[in-house]
Amino acid sequence: MRKFETMTGKVVPMDRPNVDTDAIIPKQYLKSIKRTGFGVTLFDDWRYLDPGEPGMDHGKRRENPDFVLNQPRYRGGQILLARKNFGCGSSREHAVWALDDYGIRVVIAPSFADIFFNNSFKSGLLPIVLPEDVVDRLFQETFASEGYALTVDLEAQTVVTPSGQAYAFEVDEFRKYCLLNGFDDIGLTLRHADEIRAYEARRAREAPWLFN
């Protein structure tokens, strides 16, 4: 996994609550057996005016000029600012891969759906929870100044505005450690293979019907 380094990125305001993973990456693209290439169809139904299918030349499709990612001032942003319950619905990790492939490194919201939140850490995308009033303020500042960018420091656990205002955020120690070092979870877990085997031996005595 890619290490998360301190970054400063342009903010893209996604001003609606309950953005679901079906909207982030529609079902027809889940037929891919790869992990990459989803960025061009991120938010497909909202981003393009014509219906999209896998295998199309997406560069030739008609963009919806009203959609936030298509507005010149927000294009190429790396920090997605969102409303509550971001990433709800389907467990598809393709939603994280699509954001990542587009170039989004951080999503800031007042709350996230559990599965999306969890999936994010696995691909080096950092989901940050900030209080609703702070998120509101960030939305206003983003709308007010073109090119508005935030600096995210995972080590210090802060989001810093252009004026120098720093907002602290929480992150689990273990997740922070994995993200900062780019550690592969599986490798870490396999260091405890003996404990897993010991657990299985104990469990097989207590609940033998599960080990038939």
Binding site: P17, N18, K27, S32, P51, N85, D114, F174, A207
Partner: protein, 473 residues
Amino acid sequence: MSGQTTGGKTLYDKIWNAHVVRSEPDGTALIYIDRQLVHEVTSPQAFEGLRMAGRKPWRTAAVLAVPDHNVPTTDRSQGIADPVSREQVETLDANCQAFGITEFRMNDIRQGIVHVIGPEAGFTLPGTTIVCGDSHTSTHGAFGALAFGIGTSEVEHVLATQCLLQKKSKSMLVEVRGRVGPGVTAKDIVLAIIGEIGTAGGTGYAIEFGGEAIRALSMEGRMTVCNMAIEAGARAGMVAVDETTVEYVQGRPYTPTGDMWDQAVAAWFDLRSDDDARFDRVVTIDAVAIRPQVTWGTSPEMVLPVDARVPDPAQEKDEVKANGMRRALEYMGLKPGMAISDIAVDKVFIGSCTNSRIEDLRAAAAVVKGRKKAGNVKLAMVVPGSGLVKQQAEQEGLDRIFLEAGFEWREPGCSMCLAMNADRLEPGERCASTSNRNFEGRQGQGGRTHLVSPAMAAAAGVAGHFIDVCDLK
């Protein structure tokens, strides 16, 4: 701290405690996974990851695979027409073969929706931890199991280690008191719960569903309720074990037998929350007050009784919420104040991991029997949850009832719940659907989904518009 209890234990505490392999200082635990279900959409990258790292599955006997999202629901003798869908299903077949994993292939009678076939095969057992790269894995919690959806990276993690890194969730009890009235089903109960607590109400929680109305449900009904726990934001929903659970589990292909069965059943009866267990949140719902439900918007929390009227955003004080309502009404093509029962439907979909089991098909057939599909309904399709459900329904003659009424009788799969195969809504089409999500574009770009119970979907199919199933003439 959340989830820690002194004294009595919740059902969630009991299953959690029995599965902790080790804990990190920050509370992150390595928990053991007893069962993993695999389907074609969220697994290819996980198998690829194993291959790239030169790893093997930890315990293949704990894994069961099935293709369900991409499979056609029409004639399968020619295989899958869409080359991209076909490649994904063939990739699953090849991966299962290469790694030695049991798979119910497309033309196997046991094939079906992953959350239907697990319980049906007895692969889903009480007291187990069950995961799948699918958010509706919560379904299996109906068996007094801890079951939840995971992403593809975690699918790979479980394949490689049989474990997952997790933090314990908070606990919520949703108690549905009393008995429901006529025409009110498990689907109406869970939609009413979601309407009450909201789509994020259960975020961060594992929900236990209890109370007389839940106890009175069959296993099929409990699966419907737990299935939609995720639509309330909770990764896991569960119901305590009782006689109904044990009766359902007994005698299935992967169920223990003989002495092992007796030993298992004795252990399973402890799978309920202690009387003095404390929950982080308790929600009580009065079953008698629940009416047949219909969603009107683009989030499952946008739900109302069938005799209600479409709400008016102008009456909503919260501006973010009012904007959401306006957007939803525009997408759904509805006007504030119109009666739900005046909404006409173009299509009817009876199926999905929420409502495609035998009891669901019986309920729909009972409504359809002796009636005809309304003229304005272009398509009414019934998609059984598995080949075995289909076979059983045919033995009971349900297929003939549907066909005589002008409904289509299809092959099993996820179908139009998410429209990854050829079954989908066209832009602007309105559907009475027994599935679980009414998100924008879920059943096809521009499609408009109203979530209802199987009986209510059948009633809409014969009336041409939503109608209280009890009022059907």
